[in-house]
Symmetry: C2
Subunit: 298 residues, 2 copies
Amino acid sequence: MVRRQIGRRRAPLVEGLKSASASRGRMDRFQDRLAASAERAGSWLCVGIDPDPDQFPAGLGAEDTMEWSLGVVEAVGDVACAVKPNAAFFEALGRIGHEALEELVARMPPGLPVILDGKRNDIGHTAHKYAEAAFDELGADAVTVTPYLGRDTVAPFAEYEDRGVFLLARTSNPSAKDFQDLPVDAAGTPLYQHVARKAMEWNAQWRNLGLVAGATYPDELTVLRTLCGDGVPLLLPGVGAQGADPKETMRRGADTSGRFAVVNVGRAVLYADAGEGWRDTVRAHAQRFAASLSSPRS
Amino acid sequence: MVRRQIGRRRAPLVEGLKSASASRGRMDRFQDRLAASAERAGSWLCVGIDPDPDQFPAGLGAEDTMEWSLGVVEAVGDVACAVKPNAAFFEALGRIGHEALEELVARMPPGLPVILDGKRNDIGHTAHKYAEAAFDELGADAVTVTPYLGRDTVAPFAEYEDRGVFLLARTSNPSAKDFQDLPVDAAGTPLYQHVARKAMEWNAQWRNLGLVAGATYPDELTVLRTLCGDGVPLLLPGVGAQGADPKETMRRGADTSGRFAVVNVGRAVLYADAGEGWRDTVRAHAQRFAASLSSPRS
């Protein structure tokens, strides 16, 4: 299988990032690129790219999804450690969305990692195709993956050594408890912790797994960070529209070096202003969140 | 939310199916359309549409994905009860794949249900977008959905009353056991059975859920059919390249009326012949599987 170089097809979008990346050279591991990006940005803010034409600023419609998406990245690129395009929002727009996502990733500055949030997975042969789609075809730096199907379905993603894989552990929604909290052994270990433990066992081999942990469940987040130890990235949705506190999320989610709590904010950054000055408002909101999401020990 | 009529954008591909559908009129529930299609075909064979250009017949390449896919549907349409495009294989082809999938579903005969195998899911707001993408934008009759995130993430799919939702219970891969077999109560009930029970509780409200159960695990399949009772469709991968026996799968998977065991075959039908006569070979293989997959009680 061809291992595509990160950065193929990419043209500069944020000028400062281009030179930073060029001077830093290519780094092999996703975690290293992520940490370098957070250091550059001075923050662990990840901005979710969730294009919803019903919420676009006045004058923009579905056909402007690419323009809107690129505008968001330009506005937040220097204060965010990563961006997280949400595959569902692009898919719901059909061909327009598909082309916008391709173009967005193609034009992303190499210094700003792209986490494709698709929560895909399937049995082995098909999982390979999903990995190919995300990594080779689209060029994402990392993906989110559902764990329900077990190890042999995570492998096709994790075997891309220079990419990252965030396995869902505890999600941020109310029904997360339906299955994720079920006790799976005599000690009463909930499923989400078992998933995290298994992931860390597998990670002894792969070394590029992270976890998704909803910031809306702070106690579970603390447990997950303890289980993972240092250097493992946690992707943390739930801050912003879902109401979790940024500083508290950072404190609980970061490792002992104060790093690797990748705190995602979507709607609260994207859709605060429907007027002509929307880019400035997006930037101002991103800056405000970014300031709350610097490394607690830096 | 707009509830798109099944059949928008569809043009006839298999003539016999067009008239069958027209004379039958529109049916509201996915299960009814599926059962009618199985009766027409005389079989519960579902053909997986997994376009892999590396395995295409000589002379066809990635750019011919649409032609190949349409050729498969034309070859199998009158002996299959449904087709199951596998989203991963289309995604891995980028824009070509996206357009081929759109065109394939748009041209599918209304009498032949399309089960979009995407195994998507996400928290509520995003799950709505995935449902929109599959049902409104693409026009699928049913989807496969991952259960790990719980009830509120299944709801956005299930609330499309005229579509079907196959929730993953026990998958067909070796690592299925990693999480799906974990005991989740004092009685030792494995997770996959708990998922199935929950799904059937929810189904009292929605009435359009089915389950995915790997035919490679016959005992688990028998348990799942018992848990579901009559009238609930089971989507059964594992026959063909994965080695499960068609008749045995049908016997265990069908309900007491001999119906609703939707047995998927992909590679073993699609890629047996790389020569010019590939359409005839696809058809012959589909017919052979179809003959083993008639209702055991009909």
